[in-house]
Amino acid sequence: MQVKDLVEQFDLEVVAGNKGLDRQVKDGYCGDLLSEIMANAPEGSVWLTIQGHQNIVAVAVLREMAAIIIAGGQTPDQETLQKAEQEKIPILLWPHSAYKLAGRLYGLGVGNPQSD
């Protein structure tokens, strides 16, 4: 599954990183504490967060994530969008809670061991 498949399926708004939409989605992770994400997020994750500041891009690059999904109607800073463009990390917006999208992603097989 690629990032663009999730964009279509859940009608996510792509606000940066169009060049990374063909990245493979291998897993998912939720969280807003950057050290916790750095320590635990699996490679190839879509990361659901309410953080919109520019430091999320470096975390996504270093953890080799597939995409960042900013949930809860939060909006990313301008600097975040510029960095994401530069690093080709897609930033997607989801207007509802992270919980609701995480459940749907899991149902679709993202990060769900039973669907492997």
């Binding site: 050290s35 916790e36 750095m38 953080q51 891009v57 270093l62």
Partner: protein, 146 residues
């Protein structure tokens, strides 16, 4: 291959460039074909150290040195230092301010993450004297692909 060293500058309180030194190290190690798991551990340690220097340090530097049997990652800064290193190594202890916390830092996981992901860690600091953190990653059979 021995003694090859790359250094990157870290500017204090510059959240615009924060993480760039660690990303440069990650790209450099990838270009050298090191094991992805090892690169991931170094990326975690580098980022945590770099963010500590950005948030608490004066200006600083991050360097990676490649030796025949190990990689050495060093982060040093000219900041206000650590008063009680033992306390700072404890999970959950943090001196982050409100601005840092709003950005998702300040969980007190920085130094513990660095300790967990490196084979050896040495922290040297005194109040007002800056901080030096050195981490060693030993190369075992699987550590390096070629």
């Amino acid at each position: 291959m021995s003694g090859l060293k790359k250094s990157f500058y870290i500017k204090a309180r510059d959240f615009n460039r924060a993480g760039e030194a660690s990303i440069s190290v990650q790209n450099f190690l990838k270009s050298m074909n090191f094991d992805p798991g090892l690169i991931r551990r170094i990326a975690i340690c580098g980022y945590e150290g770099e963010m500590n220097a950005v948030m608490h340090g004066g200006d600083g530097a991050l360097s990676i040195e490649i030796d025949s049997d190990k990689l050495v990652l060093e982060i040093s800064d000219d900041g206000y230092g650590i008063e009680d290193i033992e306390l700072a190594m404890q999970a959950g202890f943090s001196t982050a301010n409100d601005e840092h916390r709003e950005m998702g830092f300040g969980a007190g996981m920085g130094l513990p993450n660095m300790k967990k992901n490196s084979d050896q860690i040495m922290v040297a600091s005194e109040k007002g004297q800056g901080t030096q953190v050195q981490m060693i990653f030993f190369l075992n059979q699987g550590g390096q692909i070629d």
